[in-house]
C-alpha cells in the first residue's frame, strides 16, 4: 500500500474520465449484434403494412421453399405463449388492458405489428423470405389521433375498451372546486397544447438472441435491455409459464436506450420459443432502423387543454388540465404509469399552486405503442407548466422570471407536498439557480437587444426562454409506487453486493446497469472513497441475471440514488465487519478502532494499521476470526428508498428567428442544474449535454407523424430529424448543490434533467421572439414553415 499517511484522496466529485470509454469508442465493446454463437440462426419478422385489419390468411409457401429458410411461423404457432404483461397499470382505476402477443393473431392494430417470423441461416435469406410472404388482410377503419379515437363513430380497436379508452384517471382537487377557483381568478386563460409523438432513436436498435439447452431445459436470452432481471421475471412467470430459474438474461453492452429498452418486447420470448422449436439452435433477431421506428416504443404524444387562473401580479391560482394520452395499438410494459403518476402528479412543477385538477384519458389508436421515453411524463408536465408560466407572464405583463419567482416553492417549505399525490419534494432552493442562469445569459441586455431589433425592423428577431423545472428521480419507494398505491406491479428497490476478495480486490455487483451512463466509473469512485481501496482495484459487474442479485434496472434516473445507495450500504456493512475483525487482529476494543482511508488502527496508533487487504485475507483464510464471525467480506443490500429525489434547475435559451424563412438559430444555451451532490461532474455534464440535445430536438426538429390511414410518414432518418452536432449550440453549464436528504450520498439523479428542462426553454424562446406580433403559443416542432406561417398570419 502506498503513501498510507497521505490525506485520503476523495474521488467522489472528481471528473474522472469514464473507464468504459476506451472499449466503447475503439470498437472493443460487445453489443448484441456482436454476439455470435455456434449454430446460430437468424430471424426476420413480417410486419403489418396496414394500420388496422383482420388477418384472413398468410401465405408462407414461397418463403418456406426459399434457400436457407429453416422455418416459417405465424401467430397461430405460439398460442401457448401468453400475451405480454402490462406491469404498470394506473393505480386505483380500471385499466382496459390489451397487450400484444409475440406475433399478432387474427388482428393487427398498427403498421409494423409483427405477424410472422422466418428463421434462416443468414439474415439476408431471412429478409428475402420475409419479402416473399403475402398476407391477405380484411382492412378495418383506422384512427391515429387520441382525442378522435374517443369520439362517437371512431373505429374500435379492442372489445374490452369501449371508445378506445384505456384508462380514465384524475388527481388533485375535485373538478368543481378548481372550477370555482378558476371563476374567482382575476386572470383567466385557456390553451390547447400538443406534446407531439417522438421516436427514441437509440444508436443501437433493439434485438434478442434466444438459446434453449435441450440437455438441461435451461434458456438463455441476450437482449438489448435496461432491466434484465425484470425481463426474466416477465418472460418466465407471465409469458412462457416456466420457472424463473430456468432462464438467464444477459444484457450485453447496450448502445443507448432512453427508456425504450426497459420494456418486454415480442422478440424476447419469441427467440427463446423458436430456439426450443429448432432443438436448441440459437436464434438471433436484430431490428433494422425501419423496424425500430415502426415497432419499438415511441414517447410523449399528449393533447392537452389547460385552463389557467392567475392574479394580476402573476400568482397562479388554479390549473385545470385535460389530457388525452395516445398509448398506441396495445399497452407496452409500463405505459399506463407514464401519463398518470409521472405526468399528472408532476404538473405543479416547482410552484405552489393551490388548486389543481388533472384529468387524463389514456387511449388506444392504430399507432406504435407509446411508453417511457427519457423523462417519461415529466417532460410533458414540465412543458405544460413552463408554457403556462409564460402565458401568465404574457397576459399579466409580469416578467417571466418574476412569474416563476413569485410562484416558487420556498427553501423552508421542504419537504413540500404539491397536493396532487406526488411524494413530497425532498429538498430544493429554486431561486438561486434561476438568478444565476439569468446572470450568465445577461438577461437585461437581451431584453434591450430584443427591443432594439424589433424597433429597427431587423429581419433576425431575438427571443429568450426560461424553463425552471423540477422532476422526480430515484424511483421509488415500493410501498408508494406498488400495486396498492400507484399500480406498479412489483417493488422498486435496488440491490448490490460488495465482495472483497482474498487479495483485497473488490467486486461489486449491482441490479442497475449502464446503457451509456458510466456506472462502472461512478460506482467505482463511490466504493473507492467509502472503502478506502484504490479505484483500479474495484470492478463493477452488472447486466447478467446470473451472478447479480435481483434488481429492477436502470431508468427514472435511479441508478445512483437507489442503486448507489445499495452499494453504499453494502460497503458500510463490509467496513463494519472489517473493523470488528481489525479490532480482533489488533487486540483492541472495536470502539477504539479508527477507519481511515482503507486502514484500521487503534486510536492514537496509526502506524500499526491493518489495511483492507490484510483484513480481507484474514477474513478469507479464516484461521483466526472472532467468535461467531463468518468468513469473507461479502455483503448484500436490498435497498428500498424512503422517498424519491427531486432535481431542479433553470435553463435559459436564446434564439434568433429569421423572419424571411422562419428558420430558428440557437444562439446560446445556459443550464444551471441542481442534481444534488455530484459523484462525477464530467459524467453529469455529459448527461446534461445529451439530455438538452434530445429536448431541444423536440422543440425544433422531431415529430413522428402518421397519415390518416396509419402509415408512419416519418419512418426513416431521412425524414425524422434527430439533432446532429452541427444543430446544437455550445452549452454553458453550471450547478447549484442542494443535497437530497433521501439518501446518504445526497445525490438526486441527472439522467433526464436536460431533456425535461430544454424542450420548454427552447419553445419559450422561439415563441418569445415572435410574441410582439401577438403570437401566444405554437405547437412543436417549431419548424421554419410553421413559424413563417404564424408570423405571416399575425402580420396580415
Amino acid at each position: 500500500m502506498s503513501a498510507t499517511l497521505d490525506a485520503p484522496r476523495k474521488l467522489v466529485g472528481q471528473p474522472l474520465k469514464r473507464r468504459e470509454d476506451p472499449r466503447l469508442i475503439t470498437g472493443a465493446a460487445g453489443f448484441l449484434d456482436d454476439v455470435k454463437l455456434p449454430g446460430m440462426t437468424h430471424a426476420g419478422v413480417l410486419r403489418s403494412t396496414v394500420g388496422h385489419a383482420r388477418i384472413r390468411s398468410i401465405d408462407k409457401s414461397r418463403a418456406t421453399a426459399m434457400p436457407g429458410v429453416i422455418a416459417v411461423y405465424t401467430g397461430q404457432d405460439f398460442l401457448d405463449l401468453n400475451p405480454l404483461p402490462c406491469a404498470w397499470q394506473a393505480g386505483k382505476v380500471q385499466n382496459n388492458v390489451n397487450t400484444p402477443r409475440v406475433l399478432a393473431v387474427d388482428e393487427v392494430h398498427h403498421v409494423g405489428d409483427p405477424v410472422a417470423v422466418v428463421v434462416a441461416e443468414t439474415p439476408y435469406q431471412a429478409a428475402d423470405a420475409v419479402e416473399a410472404m403475402a398476407v391477405d388482410y380484411e382492412e378495418l377503419p383506422v384512427v391515429v389521433d387520441a382525442k378522435r379515437a374517443t369520439e362517437e363513430g371512431a373505429p374500435q380497436l379492442h372489445e374490452n375498451a369501449p371508445n378506445n379508452v384505456v384508462l380514465q384517471w384524475t388527481c388533485g382537487k375535485d373538478a368543481s372546486e378548481v372550477d370555482a377557483a378558476l371563476a374567482a381568478s382575476p386572470v383567466r386563460l385557456d390553451q390547447h397544447i400538443v406534446n407531439q409523438r417522438l421516436i427514441p432513436t437509440p444508436m443501437e436498435t433493439r434485438g434478442a438472441i434466444g438459446r434453449y439447452d435441450p440437455g438441461t431445459g435451461d434458456y438463455t436470452l441476450w437482449a438489448t435491455s435496461q432491466a434484465p432481471h425484470v425481463m426474466r421475471l416477465l418472460i418466465t412467470a407471465f409469458v412462457m409459464g416456466i420457472p424463473e430459474n430456468k432462464l438467464r438474461v444477459i444484457a450485453p453492452d447496450v448502445g443507448g436506450g432512453f427508456g425504450a429498452k426497459i420494456f418486454l418486447y415480442y422478440d424476447m420470448p419469441l427467440t427463446l420459443a423458436l430456439s426450443k422449436k429448432l432443438g436448441g439452435r440459437p436464434v438471433k433477431f436484430v431490428e433494422d432502423r425501419s423496424e425500430n421506428y415502426l415497432s419499438t416504443t415511441h414517447g410523449r404524444d399528449h393533447v392537452t387543454d389547460v385552463q389557467i387562473g392567475a392574479t394580476e401580479d402573476g400568482h397562479i391560482t388554479a390549473l385545470k388540465v385535460k389530457t388525452y394520452a395516445n398509448l398506441g395499438g396495445y399497452l407496452s410494459t409500463i405505459a399506463p404509469g407514464i401519463p398518470t403518476t409521472l405526468y399528472g402528479r408532476m404538473v405543479a412543477g416547482c410552484y405552489k399552486i393551490p388548486n389543481i385538477h388533472v384529468d387524463v384519458t389514456g387511449v388506444y389508436t392504430n399507432t406504435s405503442m407509446v411508453d417511457a421515453y427519457r423523462g417519461a411524463g415529466r417532460p410533458e408536465a414540465a412543458y405544460l407548466i413552463e408554457r403556462v408560466c409564460d402565458l401568465v407572464a404574457d397576459a399579466t405583463g409580469v416578467d417571466p422570471a418574476d412569474v416563476r419567482r413569485r410562484n416558487f416553492i420556498q427553501p423552508d417549505d421542504f419537504p413540500f407536498d404539491t397536493g396532487i399525490g406526488m411524494l413530497p419534494y425532498d429538498s430544493g432552493d429554486y431561486e438561486p439557480a434561476l438568478n444565476r442562469a439569468l446572470e450568465i445569459v445577461g438577461y437585461e441586455d437581451l431584453k434591450q437587444e430584443q427591443a432594439r431589433r424589433r424597433v429597427g425592423g431587423e429581419n433576425r428577431l431575438i427571443g429568450f426562454g426560461l424553463s425552471s423545472y423540477v422532476e422526480v428521480c430515484g424511483v421509488a419507494p415500493s410501498k408508494w409506487i406498488g400495486l396498492p398505491g400507484e399500480g406498479w406491479g412489483a417493488g422498486l428497490w435496488e440491490s448490490a453486493n460488495v465482495r472483497v476478495h482474498l487479495t483485497g480486490k473488490v467486486v461489486v455487483t449491482t441490479g442497475t446497469l449502464p446503457h451509456g451512463q458510466g456506472h462502472e466509473t461512478s460506482f467505482a469512485q463511490l466504493v473507492a472513497d467509502e472503502l478506502g481501496v484504490p479505484y483500479e482495484d474495484i470492478e463493477i459487474r452488472h447486466s447478467d441475471t446470473q451472478g447479480t442479485p435481483f434488481g429492477f434496472g436502470t431508468y427514472g434516473s435511479r441508478s445512483a440514488s437507489v442503486g448507489g445507495t445499495a452499494i453504499f450500504k453494502s460497503v458500510a456493512k463490509v467496513r463494519e465487519k472489517a473493523k470488528k475483525l481489525a479490532a480482533h487482529m489488533l487486540e483492541a476494543a472495536e470502539e477504539d478502532i479508527v477507519w481511515e482511508n482503507g486502514r484500521a488502527y487503534v486510536k492514537g496508533s496509526p502506524d500499526a494499521a491493518k489495511t483492507i487487504g490484510e483484513i480481507a485475507l484474514q477474513a478469507s483464510v479464516a484461521y483466526d476470526l472472532p467468535e461467531g464471525m463468518e468468513p469473507y467480506l461479502d455483503e448484500t443490500t436490498y435497498y428500498d428508498p424512503p422517498n424519491c429525489t427531486f432535481p431542479f434547475g433553470t435553463h435559459v435559451c436564446v434564439v434568433e428567428v429569421d423572419q424571411d424563412t422562419g428558420q430558428v438559430e440557437l444562439n446560446r444555451y445556459v443550464a444551471v442544474d441542481d442534481v444534488g451532490n455530484v459523484i462525477n461532474p464530467l459524467i453529469v455534464d455529459g448527461q446534461i449535454h445529451g439530455g438538452i440535445a434530445q429536448g431541444l430536438a423536440q422543440a425544433l426538429y422531431e415529430g413522428a407523424v402518421y397519415s390518416d390511414d396509419g402509415e408512419l410518414i416519418t419512418g426513416t432518418m431521412n425524414d425524422y430529424a434527430i439533432p446532429k452536432a452541427t444543430m446544437v449550440p455550445i452549452y454553458e453549464l453550471e450547478r447549484t448543490v442542494t443535497p437530497s436528504p433521501t439518501n446518504p450520498m445526497g445525490v438526486k439523479g441527472a439522467g433526464e434533467a436536460g431533456t425535461i428542462a430544454s424542450t420548454p426553454a427552447v419553445a419559450n424562446a422561439v415563441i418569445d421572439a415572435v410574441s410582439h406580433l401577438g403570437i401566444r403559443h405554437l405547437d412543436m416542432p417549431l419548424t421554419p414553415e410553421k413559424l413563417w406561417r404564424a408570423m405571416r398570419m399575425a402580420q396580415a
Partner: protein, 286 residues
C-alpha cells in the same frame, strides 16, 4: 436493412464498365453509393448487378485546362478541398461543402450526383447554373451532354443505360460572380430550396449574362428563366435584385411535402434567389 441479392462487378477501365453494363441490362452503376445503397437496403431498389466504378483510375482527378475538368468519381470532399476548384469555381467547392455530412462527402461523387438527378441534390443546380457539361461513354462511343440537356425528370437523365459519365467540365470566365444558397432539411441535409447563381458582370455592374438554377422544390434541377430575364442587360442593384427574386418562382411546378409545403417552398425560392444574388454581388467577380 438487408438488400436483395445482386451480382457485383469491379471493372478497372471505362471500356470494361461499358461492356458490363451492356451485358447486364438490370445492372446499376455504383459510384459513391450514398443514394443507391440506402435505396437498396430499404428494398426500394433491387438491381440484379452493381458495376462499381471505384477502381477506375481514369475517372479520378481534377485538371485545369482553361476550364476545370473533374473525373466523374471525384468526391465532394476532394472538390471542397481542391485549391484549383476553390479559386476558379468557388461556388462548386462551397456547395460541395454543404452536401450531407463528412461521411457522405468522403464517399459521394459529383458524377454520381449528376447521374442520379435527385430532385433535392445540391450539385445538380450548381452544375446547371455554371453551364457545365459531362462527357459520357457508352457502347455508341463518347459524347458530350450540356447541363441544359442532362436532367430530364425526377431521377431521370438523358444518359443511356450503358453510358458512364467520365468527366464533368466547367467553363471559367473572367468577370463572373457566383454563389449558392440553400435551406436544408434538418434530417437529410437535402435542399428544401437551393438556388445557384452565376452572373457575368460588365462595367457598372451591368449583368451581361445570368444563369440561375433551383433545386429541392422541382422534379429536377431547373433554370430560373424569369429571374434570369429580369437581370440580363440591367445594372444590378437592390431594387433590380428584389424584382428578379419576386418573379423567380414564376412558371415553376413546385413540390410540397410534410416538412415544407408547395406554398412555403415557392416563398423560399424568392428568398433564396434574393439572398444568392446579393451574396454573389458582395463576393465580387473573379
Amino acid at each position: 436493412m438487408f438488400p436483395s441479392q445482386f451480382d457485383y462487378y469491379r471493372p478497372s477501365s471505362i471500356a470494361e464498365a461499358v461492356g458490363l453494363l451492356g451485358a447486364n441490362p438490370d445492372a446499376k452503376i455504383l459510384a459513391g453509393g450514398h443514394s443507391l445503397l440506402p435505396a437498396m437496403k430499404l428494398r426500394l431498389a433491387a438491381p440484379g448487378a452493381l458495376v462499381d466504378l471505384g477502381r477506375i483510375q481514369e475517372l479520378r482527378g481534377i485538371r485545369v485546362n482553361g476550364g476545370v475538368t473533374l473525373g466523374a468519381m471525384t468526391t465532394y470532399e476532394e472538390i471542397q478541398d481542391s485549391a484549383e476548384v476553390r479559386q476558379r469555381v468557388p461556388m462548386l467547392a462551397e456547395a460541395a461543402g454543404t452536401v450531407g455530412d463528412p461521411q457522405v462527402r468522403a464517399r459521394g461523387t459529383l458524377g454520381g450526383s449528376l447521374a442520379h438527378s435527385d430532385p433535392a441534390a445540391d450539385l445538380t443546380a450548381v452544375f446547371l447554373a455554371l453551364g457545365g457539361e459531362v462527357a459520357a461513354v457508352g457502347s455508341g462511343g463518347e459524347r458530350t451532354i450540356s447541363a441544359d440537356d442532362l436532367f430530364v425528370d425526377l431521377l431521370t437523365t438523358s444518359l443511356q443505360p450503358d453510358e458512364v459519365i467520365t468527366q464533368i467540365r466547367f467553363p471559367v470566365n473572367g468577370g463572373t460572380a457566383m454563389a449558392y444558397e440553400k435551406q436544408e432539411h434538418p434530417a437529410s441535409g437535402y435542399a428544401i430550396v437551393g438556388v445557384a447563381a452565376v452572373l457575368q458582370l460588365g462595367d457598372g455592374n451591368v449583368c451581361q449574362s445570368a444563369r440561375l438554377a433551383v433545386t429541392g422544390c422541382t422534379s429536377k434541377a431547373t433554370r430560373l428563366s424569369s429571374a434570369e430575364a429580369a437581370l440580363v442587360g440591367q445594372p444590378l442593384n437592390d431594387e433590380r435584385i428584389m424584382q428578379a427574386a419576386q418573379g423567380a418562382a414564376e412558371g415553376l411546378e413546385i413540390n410540397g411535402d410534410l416538412y415544407a409545403s408547395e406554398e412555403y417552398r415557392r416563398h423560399l425560392v424568392t428568398v433564396m434567389t434574393r439572398r444568392v444574388l446579393q451574396r454573389a454581388l458582395s463576393t465580387g467577380t473573379n
